[in-house]
Symmetry: C2
Subunit: 202 residues, 2 copies
């Protein structure tokens, strides 16, 4: 898509990578973050607004599709970040989304921009309740991936049809890599044992 075209193009200076490249999600919050970040996982972090305009012009002139850019000199943290009152959130079992995602200090602004306004709640009833508590100025995602958006629209349903999200797939891949590493280790151990057994027999 457009993203790959931009990321691969050396002529577009100042590209830092996609959001998915730059963040790590805490274990257990993969579904919530897949839902709440959605297509933003493929947004491109870029040095400044002038580079973003150049990149957009280039995409346009070469008919290479569309992309969203997060210029580090233009984006701003939104909402309260981690500065929600904890005792208020505790009543709803909610946590600020910025506390369940990790990134380099250099990109903390990206997290604040994407998630500073977002809370994670245990279920949809609690999500609606905490959204009302903050006068619907916040976005609330549930652990199951349902959403109450700022202003009060609600998104939800079953996720089976769409397949796993990018973070879930990234985690699957990591799990697979770990599994593979442990199998290779077992192989090496078996081989060593076999060799020892075989040399003992000689």
């Amino acid at each position: 898509g457009g993203n790959a075209a931009v990321s691969d193009n050396a002529a577009v200076a100042g590209i830092h990578g996609t959001v998915a490249d730059l963040i790590q999600v805490n274990e257990g919050f993969e579904i919530a973050m897949d839902v709440v970040l959605g297509s933003a996982l493929q947004h491109i972090v870029i040095e400044n607004e002038a580079s973003a305009r150049k990149a957009i012009e280039w995409l346009k002139s070469s008919s290479r599709g569309r992309a969203t850019f997060l210029p580090l000199d233009l984006i701003e943290e939104r909402g309260r970040g981690a500065a929600f009152a904890k005792n208020e959130l505790d009543r709803f079992g909610a946590v600020p989304a910025v506390t369940v995602v990790q990134t380099d200090a250099h990109y903390s602004k990206v997290i604040g921009f994407l998630l500073g306004n977002t809370l994670v709640a245990p279920d949809l009833s609690q999500a609606v309740a905490v959204a009302r508590n903050y006068h619907k100025s916040v976005r609330v995602v549930t652990m199951a991936g349902d959403l109450v958006n700022p202003g009060g629209s609600m998104t939800g349903g079953s996720r089976e049809r769409r397949g796993a999200g990018l973070i879930e797939r990234k985690k699957d891949l990591e799990d697979l890599r770990a599994k593979l590493a442990s199998l290779e280790q077992e192989d090496r151990e078996s081989e060593t044992q076999l060799r020892q057994a075989s040399s003992n027999r000689d």
Copy 2:
């Protein structure tokens, strides 16, 4: 998708229709509104929050995918709607998006929720300028379909690959209908002339 499943289901009470069903876009603003509304064109306007929760539970329990609901008792107008200072907007050649979309009075809240925070600007430079003027609290879309989002991310590029958006296609269909009607009218006129010529000859 999930929307069709919900819209067709008589068991889910209080459904008014999709956003695309309920709005009309002024001529010339089709691309801008396609871009800025995007998937929100398929959001489902629903009577209240309890119905939305029921609908989400039903989608989930029957594995019918996901949908976004706009509960009329929960959503709120956002931003300033049409109440931006005109002389301020004029400096950038911008207009409030709510002024280029029509709907029944009953659904004006839906427009305010979706577009109250959005401006339309002539090009990307003006869009960035007007976004900065409002401290990046607004969303600005250009006539060509580029975007400056609240908080400062920028979206743009070529639209050729993705095919026309829903509003453009709706307009194409209307144009096609009008063309068809005028061709049928011409046909009828030719037929009448032919019949008259033929009866004159008899």
